[in-house]
């Protein structure tokens, strides 16, 4: 059992707290070309995902696990299709709780 390299749940606004660290987020795909994906975070900010070839075909929602490069870019290690019926609002609230009151259960 290893908890030395967790990946924090983030939305667009929380990404800046983890620059250089491992994060996970879910974006709504806006477009993709040449191996990079542009997505909308669950709190309506734009996030660029680079570094890993996206699954094909892409669904509406995409989970990104990787290193936060900047406040709006992630270098992806793992991309997972999260389907078309994912609820971004619930995920956004989870991100806030996992970085706030309940942070000790996550990272």
């Amino acid at each position: 059992m290893d908890t030395s390299s967790p990946s924090a749940f983030v939305n667009g606004a929380l990404l800046r707290r983890y620059i250089g660290q491992k994060v996970r987020t879910v974006v709504q795909v806006i477009g993709s070309d040449n191996g990079s994906v542009v997505g909308k975070s669950t709190d309506d900010l734009q996030i660029v995902v680079r570094g890993s070839s996206p699954p094909s075909p892409l669904t509406t929602y995409l989970e990104v696990i990787g290193i936060a490069e900047s406040e709006n870019a992630i270098r992806a290690e793992t991309l997972t299709n999260f389907g078309n019926t994912f609820d971004p609002q619930n995920y956004n609230e989870l991100c806030k709780l996992a970085n706030g009151e309940f942070k000790h259960l996550f990272i």
Binding site: F9, Y61, I65, F86, A98, F102, L105, F106, I107
Partner: protein, 278 residues
């Protein structure tokens, strides 16, 4: 349905993941009396599972609750098929855990074949410790197909943590777990009356006295065991006839009682039943 020592009845029907009375009242005896009551099913993050305290090889507890069965949702990041078992590592973002799924029967093998590397899974298992190394002995696993389940799992982890760490008594779960038998407008006045809302109740003897009387009469009528036991409730015209109160007054009284949560309408807006326990 499940292999191994998993007892579905104990895990799912015996109070679920909530700590039983036995766990909270007599933690010292729980290991001596391993019965159905002390079996728990806890949804946990792997960070929580790693931080669980232990007093031996396989007695773990977290938030004051003994860990028996755990529920985990995560992504399979390593997997190795062996002859009698599948070894894999699950990563839920808070940590990684080594897992073993023993496959003796065909059903167990088939269940494991549906699971592939990189998939999100929901699993149930027992936390084991061997030579200081913790692992999960999995007895049920399935792929996550609706990814909202991931959000739900972590939300549930937070809820259960909050429930188990909240001081007992006066808390919200406590109030819902033991419904108060005493209802407002009860026939037996008690010193500790539940709170009441609505201006009509605050001054029962000053305003609207006659109306208050009608409400009380109607409620007493609906609180009769015969009417409490009835599924369909009682039609307002029947109440009016039996009590010899004008139907309009009965309807007004029922509406107010309904607003105060003392009665509710059943099949339609004309049949009513008391909210008191039968």
């Amino acid at each position: 349905m499940y292999g191994g020592e998993f007892d579905g009845n104990a895990a799912f029907a015996g109070g679920g993941f909530m700590p039983s009375q036995a766990t909270t009242q007599a933690p010292d005896f729980s290991s001596a009396f391993k019965n159905r009551d002390v079996r728990t099913l806890l949804p946990l993050t792997l960070k929580q599972l790693n931080s669980a305290s232990t007093n031996g090889e396989s007695n773990f507890s977290i938030d004051g609750v003994d860990i028996n069965t755990v529920s985990i949702v995560g992504r399979i990041c390593r997997m190795e098929n062996r002859i009698t078992q599948v070894d894999f590592v699950v990563d839920d973002g808070t940590g990684c855990a080594d897992c073993v799924r023993w496959c003796h029967e065909r059903q167990e093998t088939e269940e494991m074949e549906a699971v592939k590397l990189g998939m999100y899974v929901r699993l149930y298992g027992h936390l084991k410790s061997f030579q200081g190394k913790r692992s999960v002995n999995v007895f049920s696993i399935r792929p996550v197909t609706d990814f909202n389940e991931i959000v739900h799992h972590f939300t549930e982890c937070m809820y259960v943590h909050m429930y188990n760490t909240m001081p007992r008594g006066g808390s919200i779960p406590q109030a819902t777990a033991t419904p108060r038998p005493q209802m407002p407008y009860s026939t037996n006045p008690t010193p500790a009356k539940p709170y009441q809302t609505g201006p009509s109740n605050q001054f029962p003897n000053q305003f609207n006295d006659q109306m208050h009387g009608v409400r009380q009469t109607v409620l007493n009528y609906l609180n009769q065991p015969m009417h409490l036991a009835s599924e369909a409730g009682v039609h307002c015209d029947v109440i009016a006839r039996d009590l010899r109160i004008p139907p309009l007054q009965v309807k007004d009284a029922l509406e107010q009682l309904s607003n105060d949560g003392c009665v509710y309408s059943t099949m339609d807006e004309t049949c009513f039943k008391s909210t008191a326990n039968a």
